[in-house]
């Protein structure tokens, strides 16, 4: 078996998640027709709320790629990387199936299996479809997902639709070949390498045709786009408009990850990624009447578990080979688990309803209490239950006089653990504070004295008062405190505040 240790491959570099797209919260999905909501209800990636309860996994069966993206590099290997496109173990379809059954038997939260690389799943049709064929038969309760650059999509649609697939993710970074030429140096098409604008034009045409064909058949399509400042950042609004018009059901704009040590074209050429603020602003501009996905974590192509955690180590192939699995029994347990979650969710939703009413009853004129961004440290379960210093990512919420909205999350050490390994010279705490730019409060279960002081100095109020409480209620309550104390009467927020989509 080939080892793609720490190797990041092709298009999936930025979309490890495709299989499992990233969704807006359940409320934000309210505008979708009922049959679509059914499809996303238990999907950790499509539904922000579902991702607190359900798990997904990716299997790395698809090594080859048929295009080159400037944000991907297959040869450079940084031991500290945990980012999309990076896998540690390439699997055969048989191994992948074994692993899926083992995980689904161990983690009852597992609802979704995705193939997202490390290359392009549809550039490896035999391996991808063999995996799907076996799973359709042996694990009929698991949803299948696929994420693709779209080049081979139109030709593969019939085969794709034969499986237990509700949605497909296409990475579409542009609809203009001139911009495409700056992102894709070449594609492999009809047995030749085609470079530059001509290659990009073919890729764009295939992606758009694939999107149309899928929506015609009622398959949900999520579009991922990588925001590349100065290349496609202004163009992505146009992309959003076009793909929505053609029926894409969600658009997920993700930040470019480009570090010189990744050895990608963009990394080496010093192309910067967007700031959190720029990304948020673009997501808002793209939003229109459609929810943007904001909780995407750009997972690895072999991630296992709940979003934001990776239990891949527990399921290395040698461990899986030693497990004994009674899948029929596991299916029963899974169904039980899902019923319990369902009951809890209904109860939670009812409680949330009450919160919203009490918040609205503050009866403050909207302009007096501007919206505020808050960061939350959580290890899952929808409650504030993580020590500030243990958080590897923060969920970002916007509280306003009207409601509490999930905005996205910010990782603090995902791309590369800079200071230790790559000599960036910035402490982890400084990195974290920079990642929280624009937030005015951070809620966590506990926090040490030093970070407390430094956060305050940076204008971010630490708060440990709401430990173990449900996130949205705590954010609403803290916002109410801030309003009552007059803290929000200060005219200006630290930076221009976002307008609700």
């Amino acid at each position: 078996m080939a080892q793609l240790s720490g190797t990041s491959v092709s298009d999936s570099t930025q979309e490890g998640c495709s299989a499992s797209g990233c969704g807006g919260s359940q409320d934000q999905l309210a505008h979708l027709p009922e049959h679509i909501r059914q499809k996303v209800h238990n999907h950790p990636c499509y539904s922000e709320e579902a991702h607190h309860h359900f798990a997904r996994m990716h299997v790395a069966v698809a090594p080859a790629c048929n295009i080159q993206c400037h944000y991907c590099n297959r040869k450079y290997d940084c031991a500290n990387e945990s980012r999309p496109g990076v896998v540690s173990e390439l699997l055969t379809p048989d191994q992948a199936v074994k692993k899926v059954l083992a995980v689904a038997a161990t983690i009852p939260q597992m609802t979704v299996l995705g193939i997202a690389g490390p290359g392009d799943p549809l550039a490896n049709p035999e391996r991808t479809f063999e995996t799907f064929r076996q799973l359709t038969e042996r694990a009929p309760d698991i949803k299948l997902c696929v994420s693709t650059n779209g080049l081979a999509l139109p030709e593969q649609i019939d085969e794709l639709c034969r499986h237990n697939i509700d949605h497909v993710t296409i990475t579409i970074n542009c609809v203009d070949p001139d911009i495409g030429a700056e992102i894709y140096p070449w594609i492999f098409w009809n047995n030749r390498r085609i470079k530059g604008r001509k290659g990009a034009a073919i890729l764009i045409e295939q992606q758009q045709r694939g999107l149309e064909l899928l929506t015609e058949r009622g398959v949900l399509v999520k579009v991922n786009s990588v925001m590349i400042p100065g290349v496609n950042d202004t163009h992505l609004e146009e992309v959003s408009r076009v793909v929505k018009a053609k029926g894409a059901f969600l658009h997920n704009v993700m930040p470019l990850i480009a570090e010189a040590e990744h050895g990608t074209f963009y990394g080496v050429m010093g192309q910067r990624g967007p700031t959190h603020i720029e990304l948020q602003a673009l997501q808002d501009r793209c939003a229109g009447d459609m929810t943007m996905m904001r909780h995407c974590r750009q997972c690895r192509a072999d991630a296992v578990g709940m979003l934001g955690e990776d239990r891949g180590d527990e399921f290395s192939m040698d461990k899986v080979e030693r497990m004994e699995i009674d899948y029929a029994e596991a299916m029963v347990q899974r169904a039980d688990y899902q019923r319990t979650v369902e009951a809890n969710r209904t109860a939670q939703a009812e409680r949330r309803g009450e919160t919203l009413i009490s918040l609205a009853s503050l009866k403050r004129p909207v302009k007096e209490s501007r919206p505020v961004l808050m960061a939350v440290a959580t290890s899952g379960g929808g409650v504030i239950n993580q020590h500030f210093g243990h958080a590897r990512e923060f969920l970002i919420y916007e509280a306003s006089a009207i409601d509490v909205r999930f905005i996205g999350h910010r990782k603090v050490d995902l791309y590369c653990s800079g200071d230790v390994s790559c000599g960036e010279g910035e402490s982890v705490l400084q990195q974290t504070i920079r990642a929280l730019e624009g937030c005015e409060a951070v809620l966590c279960s506990k926090i040490g004295f030093e970070p407390w002081e430094q956060l305050e100095r940076a204008g971010i109020q630490p708060n440990g008062e709401y430990a173990m409480e449900p996130i949205e209620e705590a954010v609403a309550a803290l916002y109410a405190e801030m309003v009552a104390s007059g803290a929000l009467n200060r005219a200006e927020a630290p930076q221009p505040m976002r307008i609700s989509a």
Binding site: A2, Q3, L4, T7, V9, S10, P63, A64, C65, N66, Q68, H70, R74, K75, G119, A123, N124, E126, P185, W186, F188, N191, R192, R193, A260, E261, F265, V268, M269, C422, G423
Partner: protein, 92 residues
Amino acid sequence: MAYQIIESCVNCWACQPLCPTEAIYQATPHFLIDAKRCSECEGEYADPQCASICPIEGAILDSLGEALNPPGSLTGIEPARLEAVMAQMRAR
């Protein structure tokens, strides 16, 4: 006449399924081309398939030992620029 894969190959699998003569095989530490089978795609395709999809500059050589995808030809990164950035990183 035959091509060969050298150590810069990253085992990405892209070339292997495309070879019309099944000359490419998985090996350790990297994929190899069976010289007896490789036809350089003569009579099959206008372009050698392995070299047309390989993403790694310099990984596949022709029968004269020349890289089919020379430095800079695929990534668009000038070799000098790449060297400078790599040197900078090594210095850190």
